[in-house]
């Protein structure tokens, strides 16, 4: 698996961080909203339970053993007897004494049930001895709501307790308060639906979900910008480094700041110094070698002239056969040396930056000068095919003539007796393409890559008998290079060879 790039790592890391922060923020909001909501409900419940805990003064006998409700003897009364009697209300016979209650005729048939002045003294409904107080929502009837024993206990200890209970599928917030001393019922409770708070939380959740994707996108966006900004120095360095190549080794990376990137740039620059120095040393060595070759060849000119001249003079006055033979051999070898020297000097000149004299040369003229003296010697045909007839080749006349001559000489060498040499010159895609084809012995494939090396000969056995200096193709290669062209060889042993030279206009 491909390792993750640094950029991606930083991007994902930052995005994850930002995203998590946003999520945490959202979660915290939700918690706060819930708490605030519930706290609000609880306050409402506290308010509702206050009358139970601190009833207003003037209730008189209300605050007494018999708080609320018709007497235990009254039919229909399901109030437990505060004196500890059972639900049937058997207890002390208090029938004779009865407090006056509003709306209570008191059993006196003469007294009509008339609303009496004063607050409603009817006792609140109760469940299992726990009074059900009216809550903020008037129509909420909690008498069927079971009593939470743990909450009652807690209320007895701490005064109040809050719990969440469910009635008929509706969630309620319930406050349990313990009854003040001397009361008939043990505790009171009030409830309020939690719906509003739940609605609020649901709204928060929905908003949360809706904002999830935008939050993710935002965090990726911010992170991406952040990453770009952080890695900017690296990108800059890479851009500058790309401009450095063999021709521009002296270029250095800019050192920005003293951080990690700055240090990296400095280290890189140090490395470039070493590379440049090594490169320079190599270039110097190569130049020195070329100079030496040229100088050596130059120095050989005079001695060769002297040898050749003396041999010729000697031959003129040589008497016996043996001397003549020896001198003739010397002459031949001396001529071979001269040819090598000439070629080395030409190569040296071509390798120097001496400018070429570029003109438009008629292909016909190139061919005629290059093939002068060749076809006369041999029994085969040398032909030029060119289209159009007045096609011109752009280049240095001396150099290109030499190039073609060398190729023709090689072609002649390859053909032992019968064969054709065809030279073709055409224009193609803005370049001039020159081909030399011979039907000679061909070049073995493993020799093809060495063509153009100095003194390389494909067939070692022919080293001494051939006419060439071994530098012919090296010179061709250099001429082609100076003209910024290309030279390719295609050959099959026994079939022939095709050399293709392409010269840009």
């Amino acid at each position: 698996m491909k390792p993750m790039s640094t950029r991606v790592k930083i991007l994902l890391g930052n995005a994850a961080g930002i995203f998590l922060v946003l999520i945490a923020f959202g979660a915290a909001s939700r918690v706060v909203v819930k708490k605030v909501g519930i706290d609000g409900l609880d306050k409402q419940l506290e308010g509702a339970s206050r009358p139970f805990l601190n009833p207003p003064p003037g209730m008189g006998g209300m605050i007494g053993p018999r708080f609320g409700g018709p007497g235990p003897n009254q039919p229909g009364s399901n109030q437990p007897d505060p004196n500890g009697q059972g639900p049937n209300g058997e207890g002390p016979d208090l029938s004779g004494q009865r407090a006056a209650m509003p709306g209570d005729s008191g059993g006196n048939p003469d007294l009509l049930d008339q609303p009496q002045p004063g607050p409603d003294r009817r006792p609140p409904p109760a469940t299992d001895g726990v009074a059900n107080l009216g809550g903020p929502q008037q129509d909420l009837d909690i008498k069927d709501l079971p009593v939470d024993e743990a909450a009652i206990q807690q209320a007895k200890n701490n005064g109040t307790a809050f719990v969440t209970q469910e009635l008929n599928g509706q969630k309620l917030r319930v406050i349990y308060v313990s009854a003040p001393a001397g009361r008939q019922v043990r505790a009171g409770r009030a409830a309020v639906p939690m719906q509003p708070v739940n609605d609020a939380i649901q709204l928060v959740d929905l908003t949360f979900l809706l904002l999830l994707v935008p939050a993710l996108l935002i965090s990726l966006g911010i992170s991406s910008l952040l990453t770009k900004w952080t890695l900017l120095p690296a990108a800059k360095m890479a851009g500058e480094a790309q401009k450095i190549d063999a021709n521009r080794l002296e270029k250095r990376l800019p050192v920005i700041g003293t951080d990690e990137f700055g240090a990296l740039a400095q280290t890189f620059n140090g490395m470039l110094e070493k590379v440049e120095a090594g490169y320079q040393a190599q270039a110097d060595a190569l130049a020195a070698q070329k100079r030496f070759t040229g100088d050596a060849a130059h120095e050989l000119k005079s001695p060769l002239t002297v040898i050749s001249g003396n041999v010729q003079l000697g031959l003129e006055s040589a008497g016996d056969e043996k001397t003549r033979e020896c001198l003739t051999e010397i002459q031949r070898e001396s001529a071979a040396m001269s040819a090598i020297v000439q070629d080395l000097l030409l190569l040296s000149r071509l390798e120097s930056d001496q400018p070429l004299n570029l003109i438009d040369i008629p292909a016909v003229e190139l061919f005629e000068s290059a093939s002068a003296g060749i076809s006369a010697e041999f029994k085969f045909r040398v032909m030029l095919v060119t289209d159009p007839k007045d096609l011109t080749v752009r280049g240095d006349q001396n150099a290109l003539t030499r190039l073609l001559r060398n190729l023709l000489e090689n072609a002649v060498e390859a053909i032992s007796d019968q064969g054709d040499i065809i030279v073709r010159a055409v224009k193609e895609n803005g370049s001039c393409v020159l081909t030399v084809h011979d039907s000679g012995r061909g070049i073995p494939p493993d020799a093809l890559s060495h063509l153009g090396e100095r003194f390389f000969r494909a067939d070692e056995a022919r080293t001494r008998s051939g006419k060439g200096t071994g530098l012919g193709l090296a010179i061709c290669r250099q001429i082609v290079k100076r003209h910024e062209g290309t030279m390719r060889f295609a050959s099959a042993v026994g079939k022939g060879t095709l050399v293709t030279v392409t010269l840009p206009e």
């Binding site: 000149r349 005629e368 007045d390 006349q397």
Partner: protein, 225 residues
């Protein structure tokens, strides 16, 4: 015939002098430039073989001084420097021939013979026709000041037409004088005149090269119908 050889390399001096003597001439060797010039100015020599790189005074300098004094003795320059500029420099200074090293001694003798044989009818160095300027030594062509690059054969053809200004040259004559030693293709002359026209007359309103139907070509500075 006496030949003066001004050459500092003893090997070359020796072989050249022996070669020259075996060909029947007398010779004298001067190994330094200054003494060589002195000797040349004394007179009595029919030809001077002059090396360029010499101690004391170099060959080019010697040649110009000789010409400045008015001597018309043929001067044959030898040198190891083969660049074209050096050749031109030597010929400009007054040398009659220039032979780069390494040279074949036989060739040297042949050139010596040619120089001694030569009638001193110097061809005009620069030919001028209607804005066209042809320099035979430098092998350059200018028209109205702008240089025109010609191949060797194109130059030879132009030179032949220009030195026969006004005269019509037939294809055979042209082939004979310009394509001296090669067979050439049958309509090569036409091809070359076409190429030459493009380069010489192409950019200019006034045409200098004319075709005379069924006869040949000419170079002239007036309209011919």
């Amino acid at each position: 015939m006496k030949i003066l050889i001004i050459e500092d390399d003893p090997g070359i001096a020796s072989v050249v002098s022996r070669a020259v003597e075996s060909a029947g001439y007398e010779s004298r060797v001067e190994p330094r430039g200054d003494s060589g010039l002195e000797e040349a100015l004394k007179g009595g020599y029919d030809l001077i073989i002059l090396d360029v790189m010499l101690p004391g005074l170099n060959g080019v300098e010697i040649a110009s001084r000789l010409r400045a004094k008015g001597t018309t003795i043929p001067v044959l320059m030898l040198t190891a420097r083969t660049e074209v500029e050096n050749r031109i420099e030597g010929l400009d200074a007054g040398a009659d021939d220039y032979l780069p090293k390494p040279f074949d001694v036989q060739e040297l003798l042949a050139r010596v013979r040619a120089q001694l044989r030569r009638e001193h009818v110097h061809r005009a160095r620069v030919i001028r026709v209607g804005g066209l300027e042809i320099d035979s030594v430098k092998h350059t062509v200018h028209r109205d000041g702008a240089e025109i690059s010609l191949s060797k054969r194109e130059f030879d053809l132009l030179e032949a037409l220009a030195s026969n200004e006004g005269r019509v040259l037939t294809r055979e004559v042209i082939q004979g004088s310009v394509w001296k030693d090669s067979d050439g293709f049958s309509n090569t002359v036409d091809v070359y005149v076409g190429l030459l026209r493009k380069k010489i007359d192409g950019q200019f309103e006034k045409k200098l090269i004319h075709t005379i139907r069924n006869v040949g070509y000419s170079l002239e500075d007036k309209d011919r119908s």
